[in-house]
Symmetry: C2
């Protein structure tokens, strides 16, 4: 399946949760499958922290260096999100750097990159931008919304903010508010990036980017995406270098992996976008705008399938247990499937078979 | 109890595991209680990563700014390590910056700080330096050796390398080799420090120290010293600043804590020492010099009391379970007590009552 990322720009101001405004708001998106005449078969896929609209298929712009969508094993003909039946929509989130408006975009008032002048955006702001895309596509109701991690937060926010618009939700490896430990990991990234001399208070476009800080931040993230078991299985205590074990500069395979992936990440992601998305993640709390977490979560009327993985320590399953409890007491009948995996938080991007079985069953009803 | 750190220098070269030599070797130490005539009541206390010889009492050099020993609640008259009965010895480890020879010491060949010219030192090298101190004090056998974390590694190394010299060991919250996940956390520190422009390849003495890098490294460490439950109890999702929740510069209490303690740490610790001690921790593996982990661990003949805490994810209790299994199969009868605590790895520095009960009972036999 070849795909192409499209962009749509909305001139009308988007009023952000912070009270600030953003205009224009560009949303990058892809669609897979066909919208039926009644427009009742649309499924919105929400991506995680550093994902893009390219959720499925092969990116057609760059055939030689074929990028495969981040959930390509889940979206397509006969797959979990079956494009023979459903019209699947995937959009890049507000604040990101893959085509939607973010800090690396040009501020129309200055003609320069927003940088740190970009307003703080929230998960609610992200879904408001997604709603504009749905309005543009003529879709007033979603058959389902699904996503993992920060994507799952968007899914929950959809069900709380626009309960009448989402018939089904599949929040995976997520939570209605992240743990203080998760904020602690984001803190490492925040300080590493902002203290990198090349960060220059966010004004580094056209100059050397703060690669060391961003790489360190990404490495801290990578630790949280894995699990203790995954570290043992993936790396053990194998030594990576030809330097001796007693050489100051030698390192283990795990360090090699973190270094390599940390710096590789800096080639594809903008440091400011990373900071703004971490911020959105930290301050996300379904409670905002309501009198309690319970009141907010109780608004969810969508049929719900929660998926968690037992080794996920970034979004511990007890957070989903809490959501299930609140929803059940409010009269909803959410399903919750806890799957086994050694992959930790990353499991939703790797464990396809077990997720597919659950999602197919859930979407068939 | 007032204490004073003493120093003893040994001119004779210390042959390091790496094949390199170090001379002179200075060891900073403190003693509490009285050595009996038969010299049979000596207990060696081994400190963790950033500890010092000042394990107990009030540091007499600085009465106005009273530093209290890091295990003051455990060492003293009537305490777990009862100074009415025992002669307690605590020394600063090789490679540290609290009085023993380390990278911040002056290299006698150049008259300058060693910096990165300092050789990589191992846990075995550390205990060899401690052995010199014991020889100097006239002690040929220890009633016991005890310590947590990197201190526990030294205790295990003592029992494997000099089985005839240690009658009892109390390794706490430790392991015979750290997990790849622990190495991953150390990687964050290593890269943050060495990429700090002020690091200058370790040659920063008399200039600006790499404070940002060291602070970031310490913050990564702090995450591992706590536990998910501790993060919830200590910080929750409380917001710390007067800035609004939508302000880019605002932060949660957990971030405030990490920032504050990360930078505070840079006032008391040397970045090179931190790097060398992390290295010693990473490459520590009881197996070195033997044909297997089992062979090495089976050498332990000391009576052993292992203590672990259930919420410790840096040194997971399953590592102690493995040690207990090997020792038991080798005919030793180690005791292992798993204590409950929400404090995670830090518990051995905080949970005094439960540890005291176990240690008193064990030392009485």
């Amino acid at each position: 399946m070849k795909t192409k990322t499209k962009q749509i720009s909305f001139k009308e101001e988007l009023f952000l949760e912070s009270g600030r405004m953003l205009s224009p708001v560009t949303v990058a998106y892809e669609t897979y499958g066909t919208l039926n005449e009644a427009k009742t078969n649309a499924i919105l896929i929400c991506h995680a922290l550093t994902g893009s609209a390219n959720a499925a298929g092969t990116y057609s712009k760059d055939d030689e260096n074929q990028n495969v969508g981040w959930w390509n094993d889940m979206i397509g003909a006969g797959k979990a999100f079956d494009t023979d039946k459903f019209y699947v929509i995937s959009s890049n989130i507000l604040g990101s750097c893959y085509g939607s408006t973010g800090p690396a975009s040009i501020d129309p008032f200055t003609g320069k990159h927003y940088g740190r002048k970009f307003p703080v955006v929230t998960v609610k702001d992200m879904i408001k931008a997604q709603k504009r895309l749905l309005d543009y596509l003529g879709i007033s109701k979603l058959y389902a919304a699904a996503g993992g991690s920060l994507g799952g937060m968007q899914v929950l926010e959809w069900a709380v903010t626009y309960p009448e618009m989402v018939e089904r939700i599949i929040p995976i490896s997520t939570s209605g508010r992240i743990t203080p430990m998760a904020i602690a990991f984001n803190t490492i990234a925040r300080i590493a990036i902002t203290k990198d001399p090349n960060y220059n208070n966010g004004d580094y476009y056209g100059r050397t980017a703060p690669k060391d800080g961003l790489a360190i931040g990404r490495m801290a993230g990578h630790i949280t995406y894995l699990s203790d078991v995954a570290f043992h299985k993936k790396f053990g205590r194998r030594y990576a270098t030809f330097e001796g074990i007693y050489d100051f500069g030698g390192f283990f395979e795990v360090e090699n992996y973190l270094r390599h992936n940390g710096y590789k990440f800096t080639e594809r992601f903008d440091a400011n976008a990373y900071l703004y998305l971490l911020k959105a993640m930290d301050i996300f709390d379904l409670t905002y705008g309501y009198s309690s977490y319970t009141e907010a979560v109780s608004r969810i009327s969508a049929r719900t399938l929660f998926i968690t993985f037992d080794s996920d320590f970034l979004f511990p399953p007890y957070q989903t247990e809490e959501l299930v409890k609140i929803m059940t007491e409010a009269g909803n009948k959410p399903e919750w499937v806890q799957l086994h995996s050694d992959f930790g938080h990353d499991a939703f991007l790797l464990e396809f078979d077990s997720q597919t079985a659950e999602i197919k069953r859930f979407l068939a009803n």
